[in-house]
Amino acid sequence: MTQPTEDGGLMYPESPSQTAGPYVHIGLALEVAGLPPRDDEIGPEIATPDAEGEPVEIVGRVIDGNGDTVEGILVEAWQADANGVYQTDYRADRAFRGFGRSAPGEHDAGEWSLHTIKPGRVPHPNGDAMAPHINLMLFARGINIHLNTRLYFDDEADANAACPFLTRVPPSRRDTLIATRENGSDKPRYRFEIHLQGPQETVFFDF
């Protein structure tokens, strides 16, 4: 048996992370890899148009320390429903799934997108409500252990200013977590640029 080895300790060590590598799409975003999809794939549609709440589109890019777009990124998203409740029972046939994955395709120039609804406000353990947000996890070649961040919305200025989570982020870096609303599509679209490194570096969390 590989592991765990008890070593007389109380706990096994967690399995250590390794990079998802350049071909992560084969396993987790089949169409991007050019593979035929199975019956139900976990894709970029976190909520269908039938789900309760305001439909929104999220688009973004991930930029490396040289300013280049990371085209092979895989983004995972986890969010609450329109009422601020996490729906943990994942079912592909549900209008609201809560969890999704996005990876840029061959012709997307590194732009990923998600189709969802704007999440409701989730309570913080201190009793206040957090501003609407989507939890994001980033996987790619060169990323040894995935990066956790959050996306907030720029048209929720009041909620953001009062968010017991967001206000703990140093003020100079808070804007890196806020997506910008854009016009021009059939539903509100928010753009979120994630910088892995450098002067505009996005805040990443350990929890």
Binding site: M1, T2, P4, M11, Y12, P13, E14, S15, S17, Q18, T19, A20, P22, Y23, V24, I26, G27, L30, A33, G34, L35, R38, D39, D40, D64, G65, D68, V70, W78, A80, Y86, T88, D89, Y90, R91, A92, D93, G98, V122, P123, H124, P125, M130, N135, M137, F139, G142, I143, N144, I145, H146, V169, R173, L196, Q197, V203, F204, F205, D206, F207
Partner: protein, 245 residues
């Protein structure tokens, strides 16, 4: 088996995991944050919940890579390579099984070639091998795949870098706090200690936990060998005294 928000998880040991910046693995240099991660002293429901997959409907051969890339039409052959069973248990750090969680795998074929548009290695594709599988752990945390053993392949890191044979393994666990992607290596592979990606791990014991062991007892005579690979996700514990003053 998603946790409610009264559950916390054992702190992740980021000295055991690979660091973000590991310059011998060159791509990590420009893809690693320079700022410290911001630690959440008080995780919220956002971190303590995650999707569970008890009711996610899988196809009948989603976990059988010997069969799942031959849809029964004009290419109903079997893939070429070492037929193996890869199986094990997903447990948490307290050795409690993690049931109903999604385990996904992807890999190259026997020659080290991936069925991906961007893999241009000269080793040929296998017309009967896709290289992707998924399953959901059973009530006791067990998972099982059937596949062929992948081959090593070269990659442009150093001038002569070769990845050991490996299978990429993705597991969700009970929350996004336990989300994990890693790689399974094979017992006895001499490429393991030479690999810059393996060597992003500083502790040889951590590497050892990623090496699947040949399991003769689990093999099928005259059919397939077996490798055992257990996965440990972060320990879940109740926050008994939080905010109850």
């Amino acid at each position: 088996m998603a946790q409610n928000d009264h559950t916390a998880f054992v702190m992740r040991d980021r000295g055991w995991h690979p660091p973000a910046y590991a310059p011998a693995y060159k791509t990590s240099v420009a893809r690693s944050p320079q700022q410290a991660l911001m630690s959440l002293q008080t995780p919220t429901a956002s971190e303590l919940t995650g999707p569970d997959f008890d009711n996610f409907v899988l196809g009948p051969v989603d976990n059988d890579l010997l069969l799942n890339f031959r849809p029964g039409t004009d290419r109903d052959g079997l893939p070429i390579g070492e037929r193996i069973i890869v199986y094990g248990r997903v447990v948490d750090q307290y050795n409690k099984p993690v049931p109903g969680t999604l385990v996904e795998v992807w890999q190259a074929n026997a020659g080290g070639r991936y069925r991906h548009k961007k893999d241009a290695y000269m080793a040929p594709l296998d017309p009967n091998f896709g290289g992707v599988g998924r399953t959901v752990t059973d009530a006791d945390g067990w998972y099982r795949f059937r596949t062929i053993k992948p081959g090593p392949y070269p990659w442009p890191n150093d001038v002569n870098s070769w990845r050991p044979a490996h299978i990429h393994v993705s597991v969700m666990g009970p929350s996004i706090s336990t989300r994990l992607i890693t790689q399974l290596y094979f017992e006895g592979d001499p490429l393991i200690p030479l690999c810059p990606i393996v060597n992003t791990l500083n502790d040889p014991e951590a590497v050892d936990t990623l090496v699947a062991r040949l399991d003769k007892a689990g093999s099928r005579p005259m059919d397939s060998l077996a490798y055992r690979f257990d996965i440990v996700t972060r320990g879940a514990l109740q926050t008994y005294f939080e905010n109850q003053g």
